[in-house]
Symmetry: C2
Subunit: 215 residues, 2 copies
Amino acid sequence: MKIDVKKDLYETEKTLAQINRETFKGLQLPVVNMIGSPGAGKTTLLEKTLEHFKAQGKRVGVIEGDVQTSIDSDRLSVFGMPIGLINTNGGCHLSSEDVSRAAKALPLDTLDLLIIENVGNLVCPAAFDLGEQMKIAVLSTPEGDEKPLKYPALFKNAGLVVISKCELADMCRFDVRRAKDNIRAVNPDARIIELSALDGTNMDEYLSFMMNLAE
Amino acid sequence: MKIDVKKDLYETEKTLAQINRETFKGLQLPVVNMIGSPGAGKTTLLEKTLEHFKAQGKRVGVIEGDVQTSIDSDRLSVFGMPIGLINTNGGCHLSSEDVSRAAKALPLDTLDLLIIENVGNLVCPAAFDLGEQMKIAVLSTPEGDEKPLKYPALFKNAGLVVISKCELADMCRFDVRRAKDNIRAVNPDARIIELSALDGTNMDEYLSFMMNLAE
C-alpha cells in the first residue's frame, strides 16, 4: 500500500482551514494573513495598524507567528490589543491548527479585525490556507523588484501587495514600476500600495484599506 | 502500524547527504552551502566571487537553487563558470537529491570550489544537510539585527556569517555590534564578516576567506 502522505497532510490542513473560516464567518470577523520575508517590515506595519485602530476606537487582534522569541509580540503588546504568540520552534509556517489554538485564547467576539502575522518566509506560508479572508503580501524594496517572478505563489494569491521601505528604493536600485509590472504578471487584479512606514508615504492609503476591511 | 514519516524522510536525506559528502571528499572538492533570505545579496556575493576566482585563474562551480526562473543563473552565466540550475517549483529548500543531480552535470574534477546557492529562505534550508563542508549564512542589514535570535537554526550551524549591505546599516537602524552579539549568542565560534558589495567594504576579507577554502 502506498500512502500519499503529502496529499493526506494537505487534506487535513484544508479541513482545519475550512473550520477556522466558518468560525470567523460566524463571528463576522474579517481575518487577514500577512506574509513576507524576514525583515520585510510586517511587524512595523502592524505597529502602525494597531496604533491607528486604537486611535479610531477599533479593536484588532493579532496572531503572531515566529520560529523563536517573543520579540515581535513584545513590540506589539504596548498597544493594549489582544495578541496570541505562536512559536513554531523551527517550523517554517503557521498551520490552521496553530491559528485555531491561538484564536481560542483571544476574545474574538470583541474584535473588529484579526491579523495573522505569519513566519518570516516568502515560500512556505504561501502554500497554506489558514482560513483567512485575504492574504497580504509584503515585499520590501531591498529584496529586489524581481521577487514576484521568483516567488510567484504568494503574489498570485494576495489580495493586497504592500511594497514596503520605499524610502530605500533608490539606494537599492529597486524600480517600483518594474516591481508592479512583475506583480501584475502573476496577479493582474492585485491591489498594490507602495509605502514607507518610516517617512509616512502612502500610509494613509494602507490604513484606509485595513480600516475598510474592519467596517 | 504507525510510520514516523518525518523521521524516515530525514533519514533518507541524511544518507543522500553522506553520499554527496563522500563524492566531494573523493574529489578533494570544497563545497559550501550559502543560505539567506530572499534579497539578502547571495547572488551579488556570487558575482563578486566568480569574478575574483576568474581573475585568479581558479574555477568555481555553482548549483543555483530557485523556486522559479533562471534570473540568478543568467546573472552568473557571464563569468563562464559551470552553473547548474535547480528550479524547485514551489519547494522551499534544496535537497541532497537536487544537489546530487545537479552535481552530476557539472565538471566537478575541474573545479577548485563548488558553491550551492540555496533557495531564498532563512528557515527550511537550515534543516537540510546537503553534503557540504560548510554553511555560509547571509544576513542583510535591512532584515534587522535581531534576526539571529529569531532564526537561530541557520546561524548556529554556519561556519561563516556574512552581514551584507552594510552601506544601508545606518538608514535601517541596524546595529552591527548588536547583530554580532546576537550571532555569537547562538554560535560563539562563527566567523563574521560585515561587508558591502556595493562600496567594497571588507570584500577583500570575504574573497580571501573563499579563496582559502579553495586552496
